[in-house]
């Protein structure tokens, strides 16, 4: 018993040193990086499928995008260039904002990063921290898939809402405006949706579907660059299950 207590005591004593050693190793690695995420941020960590993944840019000075995402011409329609804004109420973000989201809302579990592509795309590689909710689940209001997704996003279903309450909510006299007849989005998560890049219409469709069911526009962001720009900058990707 005494030995056990001693051992625990020793481990506890060592913990700060281990933490300092880890921090020193991280700082050393950060100093070694020549291609950082931003001037202030060499890399960031994100949880993916229960594991911590380091997100950083490739350090290979000769790196050039090759393979599928190097293609810049696809048949249009259907693979047409998308407007910068899906909807005037929804913000479009770039990589820097996405890194901040990863370190903020995603880490705090108040946000979700959504790969809105179909599963066959997701399974071939995704942005770390993303969950796959295909746009086909989000563009048809009233379907079971849509309801499941909304529940996962933190929306709560509403039942038997009185006509007077609804009218008052509509007029902004009751509640915070994040409620519809069927859903309460007061505690809904902040979402960032993305797909294959500027020529991809999958996440825009998902966003339009979410807006249609009343998901608050200020809780949705669109990462237009998607997988194409993510890979162009040589950023870390993960293959689900590997």
């Amino acid at each position: 018993m005494k030995r056990c207590v001693k051992l625990i005591f020793r481990v506890l004593l060592l913990l700060p040193f281990v933490a300092v050693a880890d921090e020193t190793a991280d700082t050393k690695q950060a100093d070694e990086l020549t291609v950082k995420l931003s001037a202030e941020k060499p890399f960031t960590y994100v949880m993916h499928e229960g594991q911590s993944v380091r997100v950083q840019r490739t350090q290979d000075p000769e790196y050039q995008l090759n393979g599928y995402y190097a293609k810049t011409a696809r048949k249009c329609p259907p693979f047409c260039l998308q407007p910068m804004q899906v909807d005037p109420r929804v913000v479009t973000i770039g990589e820097i904002e996405l890194f901040d989201f990863m370190e903020g809302e995603l880490r705090d579990k108040t946000g979700l990063l959504i790969d809105a592509r179909t599963a066959e795309w997701f399974n071939r590689g995704t942005i770390p921290g993303s969950i796959n909710i295909p746009f086909t689940h989000l563009n048809k209001p009233g379907t079971t898939e849509m309801e499941k997704a909304l529940l996962r996003f933190g929306a709560r279903p509403r039942v038997n809402v009185g006509a007077i309450s609804l009218k008052l909510e509509e007029l902004g006299l009751l509640g915070d405006g994040d409620k519809t007849e069927k859903w309460d989005f007061s505690n809904a998560k902040q979402l960032v949706l993305w797909c294959n890049g500027p020529e991809c219409g999958q996440s825009p469709r998902a966003i339009k579907g979410l807006l249609k069911v009343g998901y608050p526009a200020d809780k949705i962001a669109y990462y237009r660059g998607g997988m194409q720009l993510w890979q162009l900058w040589g950023l870390t990707t993960v293959v689900p299950g590997e």
Binding site: Q56, T58, Q59, D60, N66, G67, Y68, Y69, A70, K71, R74, K75, P78, F79, R117, T118, E120, W121, N123, R124, G125, T136, G201, Q202, T236, V239, E242
Partner: protein
């Protein structure tokens, strides 16, 4: 065409006289939207298969699950690396599949062994 005012607003005589026609037209529109979506999904699916094609190196064959078989040439490259530079090979083995393919592509592209070893280390340190 005369217009009638109903409880639902203005409706034309045509829509009142031929409700079946109106319903048929609505049905047609819905069907066409659904067909359009199906078509979009099938085109997305066809496009997804190009990812593997784009990443594959000549001589590689795709399996049904989308993975690729290593070509004899890549295996020869790995054997060569193993026999000459065991250290680099050890790091190479620890790389994810895609990074290994990239290294091999570089090798195929005519990169020197020193460049290959450097690339392996770069990929290993920055994965």
């Amino acid at each position: 065409m005369t217009a009638l005012t109903t409880g639902f607003g203005k409706m034309t005589c045509v829509s009142l006289r031929y409700p079946t026609l109106v319903l048929y037209m609505i049905g047609l529109l819905t069907q066409s939207a659904a067909a359009e979506e199906d078509d979009y999904i099938s085109q997305i699916s066809a496009e997804a298969k190009k990812i593997d094609a784009g990443l594959s190196t000549p001589g590689q064959q795709q399996n049904q699950d989308g993975s690729t078989d290593k070509s004899a040439a890549q295996m020869a490259f790995e054997e060569d690396l193993k026999s000459r530079y065991m250290g680099s090979y050890t790091f190479y083995r620890k790389l994810p599949q895609r990074a290994r393919e990239e290294v091999y592509e570089e090798y195929q592209g005519g990169a020197s062994i020193d460049e290959i070893r450097q690339k392996i280390m770069n990929r290993f340190l920055n994965q």
